[in-house]
């Protein structure tokens, strides 16, 4: 089974609103996006909040379109360092956080978008924990997840946290295993927290 299909079926098998981590190689990134956003979220008609810390939304949206993913169904919290790529225009679809160090503001923007949509049943995709870990200590990230994930669970929103396998530290892997109901490996072996 292809990576995207397998990932989608694994996500479908999980209880609703479970926080999940997806560990993947860089090469698997497009297939993971297709699996999570197209095959899983679109099939279930889940509104998606895409937190992008690595690729600015202005560059990500065309990439998603190229993968056959309809970006109009997605809202973005764009925290890719803003001044380095030119400031984007905030609108209904994209809200900006100045820096990935402003984790509280990321939570606030997710809350804002949840209120803007139905407020229940959304999928929140965090891309990626590795980029957030470049800008924040593991301790702060743990605190961030310990606040964010229960809030999302309470709102019946599912969370998928993307993690690159290669540069991930043991600390980061432990963090994901601690906070996520399941750690999936895209296309490979899967582990359970």
């Amino acid at each position: 089974m292809a990576v995207a299909e397998r990932l989608a079926s694994e996500l479908e098998a999980l209880p609703p609103a479970s926080p999940v981590a997806v560990q993947m190689s860089v090469d698997a990134f497009p297939e993971v996006l297709r699996g999570v956003l197209e095959l899983f979220a679109a099939r279930r008609e889940l509104p998606v909040i895409y937190v992008t810390a690595t690729i600015p939304s202005s560059r990500l949206i065309p990439v998603l379109s190229g993968l056959g993913i309809d970006p109009s169904r997605l809202s973005f919290v764009d925290c890719a360092p803003l001044m380095m790529v030119g400031s984007g225009k905030e609108g209904q679809q994209v809200v900006y956080v100045e820096s990935p160090t402003m984790l509280e503001n990321i939570m606030l923007k997710i809350d804002f978008l949840l209120r803007r949509t139905s407020g229940e049943g959304e999928l929140v995709l965090i891309d990626s924990i590795n980029t957030l870990a470049i800008h924040n200590s593991t301790w702060v990230l743990a605190e961030f997840l310990s606040i964010l994930l229960p809030i999302l669970e309470a709102k019946n929103a599912s969370t998928v946290i993307l993690a690159l396998e290669e540069p991930a530290s043991q600390e980061l892997q432990s963090l994901l295993q601690h906070f996520c109901a399941k750690v999936l490996r895209a296309g490979g072996e899967e582990g359970t927290a």
């Binding site: 100045e98 820096s99 160090t101 402003m102 984790l103 509280e104 503001n105 939570m107 606030l108 923007k109 809350d111 804002f112 209120r115 803007r116 924040n136 200590s137 301790w139 702060v140 605190e143 961030f144 606040i147």
Partner: protein, 252 residues
């Protein structure tokens, strides 16, 4: 047998997280000092308190001291929950204090004790006439500029708080302080008299500037004293706890 303390009725601010912090809202008829330096979101929060009240059928009075209310309304955040009808139906009333000064003949730089009484009575009359149960004065500091001594400031706030409380009016007095001030009000008097203090601040952390909110005191309820980060949005004021690791990692 110990006397059972009755739970005070609450005046929900309508800001979900703040009402959670206050275990349901501001105890009704409290006079709360909403204090902070410029750009921290005091006026937005105070306005939201009135708008949510008006939407729930509670008449709110906004007394604008420094800025003309027409200008204030032009710059208001386009709240999703705000409707012009609230103003048209008289549930949300804006009054410019300079207009009251003019009517009372108090257009001067300093007020004497008798004139302070006149002003307090005029505000009380307005609250009574409108049947207002929520009031915001933005800012009380600008009124205090007209008072010569700490005693007069104390007297003004005590009297104002008493008449508003006596009419069951829950009030927010917006107070301006300098950035980094080590007290909660300009004169150090206001904070001692108010029933509650909500501090709004800017926190610089590793070059990021975060807006924060902290309830310092609130008579009549237990409450969280933790610091929260806030965002001013079209959905209103949103709050999340300040990450502690974050604040210790490099707070200014």
């Amino acid at each position: 047998m110990p006397r059972r303390v009755e739970e005070r009725e609450r005046c929900p601010t309508g800001v979900d997280a703040l009402d959670n912090i206050l275990y349901g809202g501001i105890p009704r008829a409290n006079t709360v000092l909403l204090t902070g330096s410029c750009g921290t979101g005091k006026t937005s929060l105070a306005l939201e308190f009135l708008i949510h009240g008006a939407a729930a059928g509670e008449i709110g009075l906004f007394i604008s001291v420094t800025e003309a209310s027409s200008k204030l309304l032009e710059n208001i955040i386009p709240y999703d929950f705000f409707e012009d009808m609230l103003i048209k139906k008289g549930r949300l009333v804006f009054v410019d204090l300079p207009v009251i000064y003019e009517k009372l003949g108090l257009e001067k730089t300093e007020l004497n004790p008798e004139e302070v009484d006149l002003l307090v009575n005029a505000i009380a009359d307005l609250v009574r006439e409108l049947s207002a149960v929520r009031l915001v004065m933005d800012s009380v500091t600008s009124v205090c500029y007209k008072l010569r001594s700490e005693e007069m400031i104390r007297d003004f706030i005590l009297k104002l708080g008493k008449v508003l409380s006596g009419q069951g009016c829950t009030s927010i007095l917006v107070s301006e302080i300098a950035p980094g001030a080590q007290r909660y009000s300009m004169y150090g008097v206001e904070e001692a008299i108010a029933d509650g203090i909500i501090l709004m601040d800017n926190l610089e952390r590793r070059g990021d500037l975060l807006r924060t909110l902290q309830v310092i005191k609130m008579r009549g309820t237990t409450h969280s004293r933790a610091k929260y980060v806030l965002d001013l949005t079209a959905e209103g004021v949103l709050l999340v706890p300040l990450l502690k690791g974050g604040s210790s990692a490099g707070a200014a």
